[in-house]
Amino acid sequence: MNVGQNKVTTLKNAIETFVTPGCHLSIGGFTINRNPMAAVYEIIRQKIKGIHLYAHSNGQGVDELIGAGAISRLEIAYGGNGKFASTCIRFRKAVEQGVIEVEDYTNYQMTLRFLAGSMGIAFLPTKSSLGTDIINKWGFSKEMRKKSSNIPDDKLIEMDNPFSNWCSTSKVVLVPAINPDVTIIHVQKADKRGNCRIEGLTFADVEQAKSAKHLIITCEHLYEKDELKSNSDQNQIPFIHVDAVVHIPHGAYPTACYNCYDYDPQQLKKYGEYAKNDDDYKKYLSKYIFGIKDHQALIDLVGLKRMEMIKADPETGYASNMDRT
């Protein structure tokens, strides 16, 4: 958070400043939509390692961070990417090879954990996962938890309803709050102070943003101070929560950004191909991430024709009739 008036900076600087080795990170978006991909690629480019990542279903961004070896611990609900990966390939390999420690939650639980963090409360209750291995099986041991001041001593706690049977509820599961060191989200519109306007679904971005100690915003469109203060009903994140604002057109590419561009099915498929084996994946990393200097270079590399293809139809907000086979 920062109550200051101008937070515009470069992506390089924002990542250097807030994303430190071993930090606890969360990224916005959902599967193939509005992942802060430019920031993900910059984190990889800066070779920041040992990150503890919190994810619900943050699809493409999660798989690329894992693939590049940036992640050592992962708390996650869903490591898939819709039709493009029933299970994300680099995520799967990393878990099966034991190169990352992983702990499983549900999408609702992860969202409630961010909500708890954003509310400044230690936990929230739900009925989800009662009687399942989500409660019984922990990815992080009691010992490791006790040692780490920034991980709660328990994964989840089952509790009887203290209000007798109020709401015909006998038991609940308590999920512990998450307050990431830094959250990064990509939005359609932000002003220079950091007021944000997300178009289309917000997923869990608002909770992830408000629960974070530091918040980096990348945006498609950057507005002057106060320009977004008209029609502010549509702003979900007031500037006080924001530390850095970075203007990056196509900042979610190859994932979608509603009303701006669609996901790129060709790039996502190609990624899946490269991801299948380690040598090919090295080629992917050097060609699409390490081999280029910034996100604009990636957009240039992919080319104008592809950008035209994924350009959003102003009526529907996505690329109507785009070939997705």
Binding site: G29, F30, T31, I32, N33, H56, S57, G59, A77, Y78, G79, G82, K83, S86, T87, R92, V95, E96, G98, D104, Y105, T106, N107, Y108, T111, K127, S128, S129, L130, G131, T132, D133, I134, K137, S168, T169, S170, K171, V172, G200, L201, T202, F203, A204, D205, V206, E207, A256, Y258, D262, Y263, P265, A312, T316, G317, Y318, S320, N321, R324, T325
Partner: protein, 253 residues
């Protein structure tokens, strides 16, 4: 009339959906089934997604629940908190039909979509719960898509991701879950339901050309087949609406 098993499975699921049902669907065939129901038999059913979109127009089929196509022409665009609250809150949740899939299922309809092998060092890692466990925990009725294979219909799950009837009658209530649970398992060979009393899976239907014994061969545990009937294949109209009005580009089919 020719039809694929995938089309059969989709239509059988679609037939289970009624007007005024609120249908929770995931990616792929489950989304297609919900769309088919609206076109065929339940025009006033309401589709919603865990991502927060409700009553989406779906002029094109989404390839993920995060696809921007779910955001167009909705009744509201919210977030994950909204969609899961709609299910956990019984006022609306009692009207929700969930459509799920998994890597493993047991005879009480519990699902595994997390790992094969030991959780701490798995042989195979799958995507994990996503919203699956949430839906299975909350909603009174869910439909489950499975492929019929011995390694998928197992005596004991490697990991219980999403609750069915847990270990039998009264177990959900004992665990603190709302009553409800799986209503139907739709596979590439037939349809399984769950006994009112024992909560155990039984064979309710098999597809034309497939015998109950062939189905049992594809399962690690046996189920009662005495009530099984041959399923009615998709009609020409059902197929037309599914193929032309739901997935004309064959992105899922």
């Amino acid at each position: 009339m020719e039809y694929t098993l995938k089309e059969m499975m989709t239509i059988i699921a679609a037939r289970e959906i009624s007007n005024n049902d609120i249908v929770f669907c995931g990616t792929g065939i489950s989304m297609l089934a919900a769309m088919a129901a609206k076109k065929i038999n339940a025009p006033e059913s309401v589709i919603f997604f865990e991502t927060g979109a409700i009553d989406s127009k779906l002029e094109e089929i989404p390839l993920a629940v995060g696809d921007p196509r779910v955001m167009y022409h909705t009744s509201a665009n919210g977030g994950l908190l909204d969609s899961f609250a709609t299910m956990q809150n019984k006022i609306t949740g009692d009207h929700v039909v969930g459509i799920l899939g998994a890597a493993q299922i047991d005879r009480f309809g519990n699902l595994n979509s997390t790992v094969i092998g030991d959780y701490s060092s798995p042989k195979i890692r799958f995507s994990g719960s996503g919203g699956g466990c949430d839906v299975a925990s909350f909603v009174p009725k869910s439909l489950i898509f499975m492929q019929h294979e011995k390694k998928k219909f197992v005596k004991k799950l490697d990991y219980l991701t999403s609750p069915g009837f847990l270990d039998g009658p009264g177990a959900r209530e004992k665990a603190g879950l709302p009553s409800g649970g799986p209503a139907m398992v739709i596979t590439n060979m037939g349809v399984m339901k769950f006994d009112e009393k024992t909560k155990e899976m039984y064979l309710a239907g098999y597809y034309p050309g497939i015998t109950p014994d062939e189905i049992l061969d594809k399962m690690e545990f046996t189920v009662d087949t005495s009530m099984a009937k041959e399923e009615i294949p998709p009609s020409a109209e059902e197929l037309y609406l599914l193929r032309e009005k739901c997935d004309s580009r064959r992105l899922i089919l």
